[in-house]
Amino acid sequence: MREHLVTSDLIMRQRIVAVVFITLIILVTIEFIRRRTLKERYAILWLTAGVVLIPLVLWPGFLLWVSGLLGIAYPPFTILLTGTVFVVVIIFHYSVAITKSRRHEAKLAMRIVELEQRVDELQRKSDASSATEPDDRASP
């Protein structure tokens, strides 16, 4: 019964669709890194997802083995589950990255404000000294 589920013609078509889709994700990810639209740091999880999913889709024996290990009766669900786990991990990874980015943003804003204040102070000092300069010259 389970053998039948992963080898029938319908499943074969699903597999082709899945392989094309995963390959596309991998290629698009690499192209985006090449164009510097995506940093390696944020691309690695996408690529890992692709590399893990491809053998699951292409190799029915492996899919059956993993499904058995996880106690999953309907093997295609294993592929879906693996994909979902990666999506959850990727989203969590982004939440952490956004938090860090937000903290850096705040630090940058504070640093800019401090620099602005220093520039203002220096400006005022130089204005004050240039305002007194003509007087200095006038009085011998």
Partner: protein, 233 residues
């Protein structure tokens, strides 16, 4: 001699409060004293305060950006201030100032754009199996992508010519720069050599790379190096 005066030592420093003082004292003791730029990479300790006690240039990042960004900043700083050579130098005491002349020599002579100081004693002799294995993979990657065998590709004791400074001021890796910059150098047509030097073991603190970190390091470096080959610069 005139050219040596236009050499900037760039020290990326993250939480090196325990080490940076002696390192700077060592560097400034040389005659003529070295021109040094300490890039404080968002340290949580007193690295910056200690560095500012010495007659050195300092840059203070508002938060930790990593060695790569610290070096990138160093190249930009050097270019803007008219330095014609940069020596990349560790803030943890591993590198010996007296050895800098050896690393600088090929660059000052104009025969190479990058000179990598490699440990005289075998770098693998004292390291763990995982480290050796990682080192092998990186050497193989470099052999594949640059066509040459590097003895110590992760060494951070390096000298750069003006051509290399100019190029790297524009494009430099954003993380873990050592191996990737050698692939970039090949891509940019920069001439690279390795120079044997003495190094010391680290004085205080421990290496910042964890197990997860080292797996990420390997994957990132391999991926980034391969993508460099696909890019046009």
């Amino acid at each position: 001699m005139a050219d040596e005066a236009r050499t900037l030592f760039v020290i990326p420093a993250y939480n090196e409060g325990a080490n940076i003082g002696p390192v700077l004292e060592d560097l400034l003791r040389a005659a003529p004293p070295a021109q040094v730029l300490v890039v404080n990479d968002g340290s949580e300790d007193d690295t910056l305060e200690i560095a500012r006690r010495y007659p050195v240039h300092t840059i203070d990042f508002p938060f930790n950006l990593g060695v790569a960004s610290a070096l990138h900043m160093g190249f930009r700083y050097a270019l803007e201030r008219g330095f014609t050579q940069v020596v990349q130098f560790d803030g943890d005491g591993q590198h010996i100032p007296a050895e800098a002349a050896k690393v600088l020599a090929p660059v000052l002579a104009g025969s190479f754009d990058i000179a990598v100081g490699c440990r005289i004693e075998h770098p693998e002799a004292t390291s763990s199996f995982a480290r050796q294995f990682g080192g092998r993979i990186l050497s193989l990657l470099l052999l594949l992508l640059t066509g040459r065998a590097y003895r110590d590709p992760t060494s951070g004791f390096r000298a750069y010519s003006l051509a290399a400074i100019r190029r790297f001021a524009r494009d430099f890796p954003d993380e873990y720069p050592e191996v990737e910059s050698l692939v970039l150098a090949r891509k940019f047509g920069l001439r690279v050599t390795e120079t044997p030097v003495q190094m010391r073991p680290r004085r205080a603190g421990k290496s910042s790379i964890s197990l997860f970190g080292s797996v990420y390091y390997m994957v990132k470096v391999c991926l980034a190096s391969l993508v460099i080959m696909l890019r046009r610069y």
